[in-house]
């Protein structure tokens, strides 16, 4: 949308214009892609397509690859690398990524390279993903990288092939949405609670067709890792891309990372990055506001990320919903989740706890979980509570801080990095009917295992739930 004065632009407008190779007459555009992150699940068919057409990657140095979805997280299964992956189908997929990267000369952090990890963790961590970039990956949570002040979104496998072959995407400009959260978050209220509260407010399709900018004091005060958690779940609100304007927190985060601009280029880069903010007077197609002071720790009760309530609430009653499609969706969700309307959230019995995923597996998340776990014990009724760091580097950092010991002493399992039980493509999964407090991003039916029941929460809330055996308001423990 054009701004009132015709000059002021949103952050998204600026990122779009800076990457416009060509605007076509039919309204579509060619957009240049700076960084392409590749993993094993959505790339094999793209590489195969490339080979069949006799093409090669346009710009190999734009690509960074790592296996994450399928990799085992148990120390023993991980010990012998790809060859040790017990599931033969997973092994072939990880091996295929290695083979494709080797064939085309693509930088890959292989399975037991310390730099390996979840795609959306390793991108910012290595400095491969930077402010001002266009970043794509065959994974919807690519929006995570928008925290850097970048235009980042997921693509399908055909587009993975398209970007490999042409360095571009055919795209249409999205609309601009501002989600502004003012005020200050209370103790024990985390970025995860903020984004869940946003999704509860606008719904899982509220952001469809939009690029969301997260603005307001809460995001200005938020760490980079917190911003990543929020942008990560933009897709759960329907928006392909979420982003936060560049500020000193962004620049401090990037400084010194492996692939960040070198000293000679640094000042020039910083000067450019500082322009990556929405101009005063720029107009958004839609503005949504929340008050940070009012946000409480959130827990999802249903099978869609919009089915979320504050921890002190009860499971809602479908009868109170006027819309018939929504009402039947709620009733179906309650049946799937084995819950009844009016049940207190804190009375939900839990079987497993998962702390990890591209949403919440960074060092601050591990610290938050360890802080709650310190000196406490996982409840006997919990079958398994696992902590899966987002990358080998996160794992090493946590171990250097002694967090692994705190967690293990409390009864948590400390695992090798990967996507793990967020989507249960490897051996980490829920049993039929089991309830899980999970720091991941999707509570869809069967997402964490056939018949599994997911409750989305923050790392602190997940750790507290593991210790209590049911949900508790973690704020009471952090006073």
């Amino acid at each position: 949308m054009a701004s009132k004065d015709g000059i002021s632009k949103t952050l998204y407008d600026k990122l779009w214009e800076a990457h416009l190779v060509k605007a076509r007459e039919d309204g579509s555009a060619l957009i240049y892609i700076d960084r392409h992150i590749v993993h094993e699940v959505t790339s094999p068919q793209a590489f195969e397509g490339l080979r069949l057409a006799g093409r090669t990657p346009w710009r190999v140095d734009s690509i960074v690859a790592t296996p994450d979805h399928n990799v085992p997280t148990s120390v023993t299964e991980r010990a012998s690398g790809v060859a040790g992956i017990e599931d033969p189908v997973s092994r072939i997929q990880v091996q295929t990524l290695d083979d494709n990267c080797d064939e085309f000369g693509i930088l890959e952090f292989k399975i037991n390279d310390q730099r390996q990890g979840i795609v959306h963790v390793i991108g910012p961590e290595s400095g491969a993903c930077l402010p001002g970039m266009t970043i794509v990956c065959g994974d919807s949570h690519t929006a995570t990288n928008g925290a850097l002040g970048a235009l980042a979104h997921g693509i399908g496998t055909s587009e993975v092939e398209h970007v490999l072959a042409t360095q571009c995407l055919v795209a249409k400009k999205m609309k601009n949405m501002l989600v502004r959260v003012d005020g200050k978050l209370g103790v024990g209220v985390t970025p995860k609670d903020v984004v869940l509260a946003i999704i509860a407010k606008i719904g899982t399709a509220g952001g469809t067709g939009y690029a969301i900018e997260f603005g307001g004091q809460v995001f200005r005060d938020m760490s980079m890792e917190g911003r990543m958690t929020v942008c990560n779940m933009a897709i759960e609100a329907g928006a392909r891309a979420g982003m936060v304007a560049v500020d000193d927190i962004t620049i401090d985060y990037v400084k010194g990372r492996t692939f960040a601009p070198n000293e000679a280029q640094w000042d020039e880069a910083v000067a450019y990055w500082k322009t990556l903010v929405t101009d005063e007077g720029a107009e958004f197609d839609q503005v949504v506001t929340l008050s940070g002071d009012e946000i409480e720790p959130q827990v999802s009760w249903g099978t869609s990320p919009e089915m979320v309530v504050p921890v002190g609430d009860t499971v809602p009653n479908p009868e109170g919903e006027a819309d018939t499609t929504k009402r039947s969706g709620m009733a179906r969700a309650l049946a799937y989740m084995g819950l009844s309307a009016g049940q207190k959230i804190t009375d939900i019995h839990l079987d497993r706890v998962f702390i990890g995923s591209c949403t919440n597996s960074r060092i601050e998340d591990i610290r938050a979980a360890a802080e709650v776990a310190r000196g406490r014990k996982v409840a006997d009724s919990i079958k398994e509570a696992m902590v899966v760091p987002g990358s080998g580097i996160v794992k090493a950092q946590a171990e250097a801080e002694g967090l692994d010991k705190v967690l293990v002493e409390a009864g948590f399992e400390w695992r090798e990095p990967g996507c793990s039980m967020c989507l249960a493509m490897n051996a980490d999964k829920l049993g039929n009917g089991e309830h899980c407090a999970s720091t991941s991003n999707r509570n869809f039916e069967g997402r964490q295992g056939y018949g599994g029941r997911t409750h989305l929460v923050s790392p602190a809330m997940a750790a507290a739930a593991a210790i209590a055996g049911h949900f508790v308001d973690v704020r009471q423990w952090l006073k």
Binding site: V21, R24, D26, S28, L30, Y32, D34, V41, Q45, E48, W58, D61, H69, V89, S90, I92, Q93, L107, A128, L130, S140, G154, I155, G156, T157, S158, E159, H162, T166, Q167, C168, V170, K172, T204, A205, T208, G209, I235, G238, R240, F259, A260, P261, N262, Q265, A269, Y272, S304, T325, K326, G329, L423, A424, M425, N432, R442, F444, E445, G446, Y450
Partner: protein
Amino acid sequence: MKAFTQLSGIVAPMDRANVDTDMIIPKNFLKSIKRSGFGKNLFDELRYLDEGQPDQDCSGRPINPEFPLNFPRYQNAQILLARENFGCGSSREHAPWALDDYGFRCVIAPSFADIFYNNCFKNGLLPIELPSSALDSLFQALYDNEGFTLNIDLAAQTVTTPAGQVYTFEVDEFRKHCLLNGLDDIGLTLQEADAIREYEERVKAQRPWLFGATASK
């Protein structure tokens, strides 16, 4: 890519909102490195009563008799009627691959998730957005009439019922062009190779840090 021009086909219902891509094709089937063969696992957790495994022969599995796609009247359906936010969640293109492999060529819903919508066009599958009120009428007609069919004309951008009711829909010009002609859009983009190289030269001068960093490590 196969072209999509006109289609007259049997319609099947998926009468719930927020059908996510995990539901369309569960993750255990994403381990394949191929593009084909996902049809037998389309809506796997709804269609069968047991837990499916990759590469499994599904012919002997217990089917869920309450799931509409298992009803005799909806066999060989090519058009799927759905509700709001169809295809939300993951970017897995395995979702349109599974729909296509099963035999669907078109999904009609009040709204689609962006990535899924985009992925459909890459695979000769046409997603059509119609207003909720139109979907309500179409669902009713579908339930009332066994063997209900619809006629889809992409060039004219119309959906026509056997009773002669015509609904028009919007579609992006470029996507329509590619779908009507079955065009591979990589080939089309590569016709712009000079423009892409010019862009790169310009940006290399302005933002040199965007190039080469990962090549040297």
